[in-house]
Amino acid sequence: MSTSIEQLSCQELVELVTDYLEGALPGAERASFEHHIEGCRGCHEYVRQMRQTIELTGSLTAADISPAAEAVLLAAFRDWNKNA
């Protein structure tokens, strides 16, 4: 285990994953993050799982408007249109 892995523990790394994926880690921290996941199987897998989680969440379809709500709103639209 190298010194920079010791600098950033696994427990600390898991709290930085979103900052890392969002590109919000400052250069030095980013380097130490990347160095850590290259040498640590557990954290490497953890980051992969976060990516898989994001991908899976992205495969959910955005909820649609219910037909009832749409009908109410379209009626409101027609009202508004009449009065406008």
Partner: protein, 206 residues
């Protein structure tokens, strides 16, 4: 259709465009409303009022923000007023100070103690790869859906906008009126919990 075209169509009272706009944003509006009000019924009310506010305001909309941001601001104002009337003040702290209550992405007992002499804070039980074929199964998606449903409203709204609707962090931040950092904290907590739910599911099923 870009904003200018949508705005022009709404001003021309184009019902098809209004219906399309509702289909695009209604579900997201509902999720955001639920940050401020307690029940789905009230949230639906708030969303309905929002659309009426959009119609009433469109002729005066000056385009200083994107249409999307403007619509969500109308929603947030209405939802806040309703929330206050219901005596709900707690949820605001979820947006303004999401880091106030610490929350670990992974249970502390998954790690060796911070004063372990050789491997402080290292995995005690490290994550194992998930079975590829089960990841693709419909059941895995239901696990994600359930996990998102169980999140606190602010976290649920952020992960839905970012990861389901595919909004950028800037769009999400503007819609919710939160800082970049707070948006990221909420997203982090939400994603971490969904990951944990998936891990629990895969480990249990192994």
């Amino acid at each position: 259709m870009d904003d200018a075209a949508v705005i022009a169509a709404l001003r021309a009272r184009d019902e098809r465009v209004f219906a399309e706009l509702m289909r695009m944003y209604n579900a997201s509006l509902l999720r955001v409303a639920l940050i401020y009000v307690a029940t789905r019924a009230v949230a639906e009310d708030v969303v309905q009022e929002t659309w009426i506010g959009v119609l009433n305001g469109i002729d005066r909309f000056e385009g200083r923000s994107s249409l999307k941001t403007w619509i969500f601001r109308i929603l947030t104002n209405i939802a806040k007023t309703r929330g206050q009337r219901e005596g709900r003040t707690v949820p605001f702290s979820a947006l303004e100070r999401p880091g106030a209550v610490p929350e670990a992405a992974v249970d502390a007992d998954r790690f060796l103690s911070p004063d372990h002499e050789r491997w402080p804070g290292h995995w005690a039980s490290k994550p194992e790869p998930w079975p590829e074929e089960r990841l693709l199964a419909r059941e895995a998606r239901s696990v994600v859906e359930r996990a998102i449903e169980e999140l606190p409203p602010a976290q649920r709204a952020v992960i839905s906008l970012r990861d389901i609707e595919g909004w950028s962090s800037e769009e999400t931040r503007n819609a919710l009126g939160v800082s970049e950092t707070n948006q990221r904290v909420l997203l982090h907590r939400a994603r971490s919990k969904v990951r944990q739910a998936l891990e629990d599911y895969f480990v249990e099923a192994r």
